[in-house]
Symmetry: C2
Subunit: 564 residues, 2 copies
Amino acid sequence: MTLNKILPQWLQRYQSSWLSGDLIAGAIVTVMLIPQSLAYAMLAGLPPQAGLYASILPLFAYALFGSSMTLAVGPVAVASLMTATALAPLAVAGSADYATMAVVLALLSGAMLFTFGLLRLGFVAYFLSHPVISGFISGSAVLITIGQLKYIFGIKIAAGNVIMTISAIIKGLPALNSSTTLIGLSALAFLFFARSSLAASLKKFGINARAADLATKLAPMMVVIISTAVVAIMGLDQSAAVSVVGNIPAGLPSLSLPEMQWQHVQQLWMPALLISLVGFVESVSVAQSLALKRSQRITPNKELLGIGAANLASALSGGYPVTGGFARSVVNFAAGANTPAAGIVSAILMSVVIAALTGWFYYLPHAVLAATIIVAVVGLIDLKTLKESWHYDRADAISLLMTFAGVVLFGVEEGIVLGVVLSLAVVVWRSSHPHMAVVGRVPGTEHFRNVDRFAVDLQPGLIALRVDESLYFANAQVLEDKVESLVAADPSARRFLLIMSAVNQLDTTALSMLDELEKNLAEKGIMLQFAEIKGPVLDRLRDTDLGERMKDRIFLSTHQAFLK
Amino acid sequence: MTLNKILPQWLQRYQSSWLSGDLIAGAIVTVMLIPQSLAYAMLAGLPPQAGLYASILPLFAYALFGSSMTLAVGPVAVASLMTATALAPLAVAGSADYATMAVVLALLSGAMLFTFGLLRLGFVAYFLSHPVISGFISGSAVLITIGQLKYIFGIKIAAGNVIMTISAIIKGLPALNSSTTLIGLSALAFLFFARSSLAASLKKFGINARAADLATKLAPMMVVIISTAVVAIMGLDQSAAVSVVGNIPAGLPSLSLPEMQWQHVQQLWMPALLISLVGFVESVSVAQSLALKRSQRITPNKELLGIGAANLASALSGGYPVTGGFARSVVNFAAGANTPAAGIVSAILMSVVIAALTGWFYYLPHAVLAATIIVAVVGLIDLKTLKESWHYDRADAISLLMTFAGVVLFGVEEGIVLGVVLSLAVVVWRSSHPHMAVVGRVPGTEHFRNVDRFAVDLQPGLIALRVDESLYFANAQVLEDKVESLVAADPSARRFLLIMSAVNQLDTTALSMLDELEKNLAEKGIMLQFAEIKGPVLDRLRDTDLGERMKDRIFLSTHQAFLK
């Protein structure tokens, strides 16, 4: 019983038949994770070991607290970029201060997520709409790609905004490092080929589909091995100044928390919040789409605890913000992972790597890591959502494009805040311009529709208006103006029926508008009536002056009011 | 024909019978306007002539462009306070710079309002809800009252926030100027008496109601005359150091615009925008309530032009931001004003005052002006709206209280921004937690209501859910969770009917949620159906993958779907 409470559900019910799937998936994910963890640490401006550290304890922590069976947690591209953006103005990349602040960021992020989970605040993530997330991810991918070009060409450029970076790269091209460029472009070409057509080519040669797909996923590791061997054998790091990873301190991370400084908290809480939200949304959407394929459910509030615990564990072991990654999770799922035990397998294998094998990465060229990153993030650029939303809802498409442009031109944080504000502004804007329809009865039914769209029966002396929005301060006056103009246009009107089937809220401002409207109409000899008021709205209306005056003029259905 | 286009409508149709009303009302308003314009200029931190200047040309401008027949334009308390708040951090009150910046503020404010009017953006003012306006006005009234106490007691205190001001006044009380305090408190007592019971007392003595009411409105002018005479005769400005208005430069203002500096525009655009919006909302609501009493209409976009022109005129003649004032407008209306000609009468009389009579105000004590201000603004404190909204809609009451507290504790601009953000957040918050109801048919009708509230018929195998909110990113997931849990709780379900009568918008995020939901339900052998989709929503839905798949499962009415 006590054990039941402590151990996660999947472990209590663990079946031995699940083990082989978990072992294989864990091993395959590890082979992807090694180059990615080194690459994303570089993207985050951190030493390579930070990426490795972030790939061990967090996986255990997620396995204990998370709700997805197949989510692969660890360093990811977007959170790494956000870490770099948050820390760049505060410390020099590569310095001890910088690494400490990355740990603080993971700590704050983990604490926030865990707290949100305990408070069941998972819904805050819903405020990031699909188009905003899509624009954000695409923008980040472009920003990351541009940021990695310097490694591909082996040129040094100063930090700056995207325009400055592009112009610095163009200016720097004549002085590129030719060996680095050759390695970088070859790696890029091979990885793009592997991604787009390796599996198909292998299948043509008679290799079975699963093995072919697997080979595709392992391509980055192959590139790592080949390029490292070439650089080591030819001594290119010395003879051609090819920039390489170099020494990585061996051994498992020591467990300790950084000394928290109040100043750091002040500087980092906002980036930590954004990293948390974005990481959480990314994780949940990956986890959910994978869970649905097996008719499993994931629980957003448990996911908060899981990702939160992973970040706390990352902070404890000298890592940086982590979350559930898209590509590795899909591979984990496809390779047959049954439970988070697959993640534990990966974590154990990563421990072996960091304990004993870090020397193997000495000659790994930075250009290859950059190529790995670029190929991974280019796959994240999402034109489909743009196309669909452009077709379906122009305002959503504009939110997407503005978020994208905001991220690329102003930065990741600015971009996402812009996107959220814009998408909320659209919601408010639309509700402040409500659709309203004068309705009549569809002949032979009790159903009422727009007089402009349907051939309907009307009742002499009655104007029936359906307002398609909750009534509140931003649109109360609009409704009043509409009623006044309808009444002015129809001198025969004796009754004005307001159909409230779409009115979900009625605030104080709208209430006082209706109160005045009722009086004004009465002075003109027109009786205001209501129909189809929803329960919750009616409950509150009954207790007011207006509700009292109107009590015999509130009808359950439009039909009843129509017959009256 | 040309004349028709140039002259305002009221002037084209002017009838000689209107003249006496306009003359009398104009004269009475002038008697109120003289002390108020001096007092509000003091409140704004400006020399007395700025208030007088702001009471001439703006009245002409409004008469040409405005749409209200009875709105009395000029310096008002809240705009004066906002002017002082905007300028305090930028220049020393009383300096030439300060006065110049006040003119720039009127210029920006006028330009914004006029532009909004041309672009027909009158609706932006709707984003200030009644509770936010109420909290803002009450908060401003408290802030103004506290700010005037130093004049009542004749003590000097440094500028600061409300807590600092109160403690400085308490500390300064032992050193108060006793003559000033006597004058100030007497003025206060008389004015409060005049406001609350003078009219009733006079009526008891047989004076007719109209004259009694009039006497009440003229009370401030009486206090001005008596106190000025007392100070002048007794020489209290010298012998008892009673602070008086002193020299006011005589003569009409010269017409000129200040040299605009880019820096001023940057510093002042935000306060100018807030002053514009608040002033406009105040004007429109006063104008509208007066217009309704005579079955007239005011046009918000024309009001923007009117108030905008008034502010431009104020800037041109060395004034500061003006708007339609509550108290003077009510008096203007009650005194029988028929057209803006009454305002022109006031403007002409004010010209006479400033051309020839400024010397008469030399001995007018500041304490009397402060008393005038306090009595005027205390009347603006609005507990009724608080009480009503507390009863009707707690969230509105909280917006009101937070706006009030924000204004008093942090300042007028911060307070109103807080109020607007908060009231919009409530709207978004509510729509992200939609009310949903499983419905059944009211026996013997085609009408469907909540199963928890009504005794209704159900159809075996059918779950019919009505969602009472537009579907968009912030609530799409909430609906999906609700559907999943209803389906999980009812294994007999074969059809799930989503009733969209309250769905006024359906964004991309909600669309992709519904698309996924349809697939998930189909896998479980449950058919998703829609009913009562509104025209605009259906038009867009038809063109999508989901719309295509669902096209035979979208019903006009719930009733049709129910019978199916």
